[in-house]
Symmetry: D2
Subunit: 407 residues, 4 copies
């Protein structure tokens, strides 16, 4: 399907569940709706559960299946390793892949600790000197409304940033009988709501404002400390079902259920953040509001095709938040899809990510967000845990960075 001028990149995807399906669709769409300057070839999907991996292969057209991700690194027909596994495996897979000369797209959070993330950045820097690229999957940056918000800030339309409020609200753990899956185990997931969804809202806040958090004062809480063992996650839910008899046995939840923190940005703005799986009634409410001296933007993922924009330069009489339906050809990514008013959904951002990544590969440029961006978010998460562990005392991100001796 590639044209003479269009190079082909063989993709090897590790993981086949929720994220695996989203990425599969993205690779497939990249040349259907967009004219990406590189063609992805769905070479192989890797997973320890061969049947499950084969099922994803069948559904999305992956050419082959591997049961060990290391096999992907040996294959010449594979140029890109796409990591869709839990966070505890990211560092090992990514560094091995980069050393093997494969480009890497890694799901967020980059790693389960700052130390791991730092090693990954090191590997990425080394690889990049040889033209090997890497990227971390903060896909929400590529929701058209968010990309549009970033453009407004970059153009100076909001002026100096004064306030950020970022909430990522889910409620799928409110039910105390929801099982103890890997997302609730520190050794697999690194942290709970903080790393899984807090990472997104921190990245979005930093991406849209173009600034960074300088420190945090935080509280975290685990509301339900024991849950039924034996649950297996379903591909279409975050929770899954507790398996058979074992549902009567309980195991300890070792991650946070919710995290809240106040912060300040490099430019002086005040920021509040919240990540929780216990906001009863909120399903996937990624809410970001940014107020600046000249204007504001407000976003809620439950209404993801809309950005509310306030222009403080408008006459008082006519000023207000404008509900922009971000489905016009003039909006980022939108022209490739449908006519105005024909809204996009959750998975479209993954296609945008695939297209942008392929474009960077074809052009030999560094895609963003890179591993360094992922590390910076990791440091914020670490500072949150540090502050929460010291009863909410201020934890400076600079301190974390200094201790780490990186950059």
């Amino acid at each position: 399907m590639s044209t003479p001028s269009t190079p082909t990149f063989g993709i090897g995807m590790v993981g086949y569940a929720f994220m695996g399906r989203a990425h599969s669709q993205a690779w497939r769409n990249a040349r259907s709706f967009f004219d990406a300057p590189a063609t992805p070839h769905l070479a192989a999907v890797a997973g320890r559960n061969e049947a499950a991996a084969a099922e994803t292969a069948r559904r999305f057209g992956w050419e082959s299946v591997e049961t060990d991700w290391r096999r992907l690194l040996d294959r010449d027909d594979i140029d890109v390793i796409d990591i869709c596994t839990p966070g505890d495996t990211h560092a090992e897979i990514a560094t091995a892949a980069l050393q093997a000369g494969k480009h890497v797209l890694c799901e967020k959070p980059l790693a389960n600790s700052v130390a791991e993330a730092e090693l990954m950045v090191e590997a990425a820097n080394t690889a990049q000197a040889q033209g090997i690229q890497s990227m971390v999957g903060f896909t929400y940056r590529r929701v058209p409304a968010i990309a549009y918000a970033r453009n407004l800030v970059a153009e100076g339309r909001l002026g100096r940033i004064l306030h950020v409020r970022g909430h990522y609200l889910q409620d799928w753990l409110t039910d105390p009988t929801s099982p103890l899956t890997w997302r609730l185990q520190k050794e697999r997931a690194g942290s709970g709501a903080l790393g899984d969804i807090g990472a997104h809202i921190v990245d979005l806040a930093q991406f849209v404002t173009g600034e960074q958090l300088v420190g945090v004062a935080a509280r975290t809480e685990t509301f339900v400390r024991e849950r039924p063992l034996g649950g297996t996650p379903s591909v279409t839910s975050l929770g899954g079902t507790a398996a058979g008899d074992s549902a009567t046995q309980l195991g300890p939840v070792t991650v946070d259920d919710a995290a809240i923190f106040v912060s300040q940005l490099t430019g002086g703005a005040l920021a509040v953040f919240e990540a929780t799986r216990f906001a009863t009634g909120r399903k996937n409410a990624i809410r970001l509001e940014v107020n600046g001296t000249r204007g504001s933007v407000a976003f809620d993922f439950e209404d993801m095709n809309v950005l509310h924009v306030y222009d403080a330069d408008a006459p008082t009489r006519d000023a207000g938040f404008t509900r922009v339906l971000v489905t016009e050809e003039t909006h980022p990514y939108v022209a490739a899809w449908w006519p105005p008013g024909h809204v996009l959904g959750y998975e479209h951002s993954f296609t945008h990510q695939a297209v942008d990544f392929l474009t960077a590969l074809a052009e030999g440029t560094a895609p963003r967000p890179g591993f360094a961006d992922g590390l910076q978010v990791q440091r914020v998460l670490s500072a949150v845990e540090d502050s929460a562990g010291r009863s909410g005392s201020w934890s400076s991100i600079a301190d974390v960075s200094a201790q780490a001796g990186v950059r």
Copy 2:
């Protein structure tokens, strides 16, 4: 990709533009996200513009290209004709395909006149006796929020229906320099806003309530009567751009820009309808509200993942419209996609349509909405034109039916 127990159906699609792309993605997704009991094989796409058809084939994986749709009827590897062309071609293609023993999925409106639609129903009835199925593409029925609304009515949760208000509001023609494309020519499109988008809102009202319109009193208007010639529609817009020099030449708009009508349903409910391409600021606002003695539902496609539901049985103190985010596993079609709160977009309904159609083929049952449903909508559109042509006098749908001597 088919399994032993899963039959494969070869698809031949006629048309490759806006609808062609939506249908292509739908066929491809049917077995990726859903477990449709039949596998579609993307055998051929037909279009007079070979390069354009080939481009769509390349993008979505169609195996071959034909420049004459009649060729599709001769091919043994094709079981289904999928009609994605303008309305003036539907009757000819559909009847020929049915006579050739091909199943037919036909975009709406079914035809450009009641007479054509009647012939198509006749052909469909004849074909069905031989196990050949047909369906008309009122895809919005398969937006999960709409399907959920229908379920609520069918369960009696709204009681007796009292009111319907259906508005389909767009604004892409407000600009008087928007060119004169086929959608604005009576001989191609049959009618303007009425047939293109009014058809949808009439179908939705009848589908959700389970009732039919008994008559209408209508007004239509063409606000801009001449437009630049030579425009070509773009695949991602409804309007397109006026071509070169010819932009200075004007041609007559021969269809309605907007249509409004009052109606009454078979159960006595009062209904107001509006279809317009001149509702400045509304991009694709398909709004349907149904009030019954026991409750109400309200929908707006610009926020398509939400249904607002009012339960009149609730205590007065606690009653109100509940904003149901229709992204739960318990909602129609949703379980196949993503976790709760991960919203769907415009094209997902086409996948639902493809899956339902394939299921009907596999099971040998008649898919809905069938051609008879399409004819009924055509009769409403005809009554609207009749009433508008007689200064808004009441036009009974029964009369139209009687004149036609059908059913």
Copy 3:
């Protein structure tokens, strides 16, 4: 409380219930929050039920009580007759008051028939030659958001008007045991939803656009045709409670429960209207949307401090409906009340009406909307009834006017 330069006008109010309380508060507030150039003196409230009238007098500071409204006309300390009674009494009281040289503020609808309304206009014209003013109480014109919408249209900000949709939705009659009060009796109320709330939405549409309806095609319906007798309306509800034993006896509802109609404005715009007391879940949803070539406005009284404004001149990327919170000093009427964001409620518009009326009296100018405006609305209502009585045939407002031989 009057200052040397501020004349005082004695007010005599007829009626003491729902509207009587709203008007009482308005007169009292006119000089508290505003600097009306005339001081209202709450001289007397008249009502056949002396105790009830006295109760309203006590609550709001009316100086005296009369049991016969004719007594008010004889009193020298009364300059203004404020008519807050059901529609069947308006013509008699208003014409007598005008002939007695009293200014008149009359609640809507102006009368129960075109003929009565024409007599009232005649009386108003005669009186005005002697400097006696009259006004009809379409208070919603003075909701700040509506007055602001009117200003936008008058300034040309919406361009040529293309579409109007006006819905007045209530649901207090959905309950079939709600009693048969005067509002449901043709001889008292003239009509049902049509005259009570349809009158408002017609007036608002004409006021905001500055145009008039040229004709209608309509349907009306009475969903519940018999109701319990003996109900008495409560001052704080529209429905009231069926009294004692008589609740078991049923009487006929002789007015419409709902009315819908399509129309066209003098400038060519298409308009749909709906007035109903059966829109389950909608309590007082006065919805008005106006689309023009350059912009749009949308209003819903359930969120009365907000006007949604669309500016089609904005770049496509940044265009959308702006939610203007109409609480700024630069908005009509607002500066007299509270700081920005401190919202107003239902009754504030009555104060605005009182202030505007007093201002006109002080300045000797004709207040708007005058009786002629009320008559024009009455003609629309009459045309709706005429069309509905002829199965939805088009009824021209001009024809009604011609038959009436007035103006």
Copy 4:
């Protein structure tokens, strides 16, 4: 106007500006719309600016004017001192009034420091032993939607409280030329956004949940540190205008412009708070969301007649936030006003407060929120300042209380 069984209470109000007008209207309405069991007599308004006080007296019917509030304490016809002045005067006036045997209604915040507030509580306790009552004016508790939210929590409908998010967002200081009024001077106002609006959101959170904050980690910021001198506040705005020449001279802003803090409630819930006058585009957005194990409530004062309620006991398919229009007779305070859907405004809550206060006086019971409630809020504000002064370190409210040695 009092009836035999209805005692009359003479009111002496100190202050005549924004709050003075709101309270005046409230006293006047208490017996117009409600049947308060006591009649307020508007005896005197006190203010150093005699002309301004006289103007408020004229507008709202106060019988007399005093230029020294101490004179009110000597008058036998005055039973209640209503304190509507800046916070630096509260302690002195309130304690003197209580000692003089006058009931006291005091605007919030109770005082400018914990120490002052403690003295006031002491005075209130002493007075109460003699049947003298006191109350602090957290009026937003009496917005019907808030009172309804409180009822839902008290009934257990939300289960155990897990999350609170409270934001009070204004933007009137975003303009750097807005003058330096008393609200921006620490010696007059005590604090900035924190005490003025943060106090409200803290009180609301504690009132609705029935729990208290146990500590905070906070950041505050003063974005604009110098402003034009000489401004005088207008009665209808919070900002005012900088006066003449002096507008060119700048003075220091000595209070916070914004405060953010994380907290935890006595029951373990996580809470985030934010009070700012720099949230560009937000005029008076008092937002409170409470999530519990069984349900949630969400409120925004910019749409003050609405409470969004989530019932987690509903079937997943039908669950969602219900938009309850809090205008039914079954809602708190509403029955006294208008029919359903006829919305209330900002000042109505002041009438509710007046009625509740008068009822407590008539019944000889302690009105809520009392001075102790005000002190508790003061302690929270103090802890916020303490934490912000120590770079966001956790400040326990209990510690503050212990230091203070009270209760």
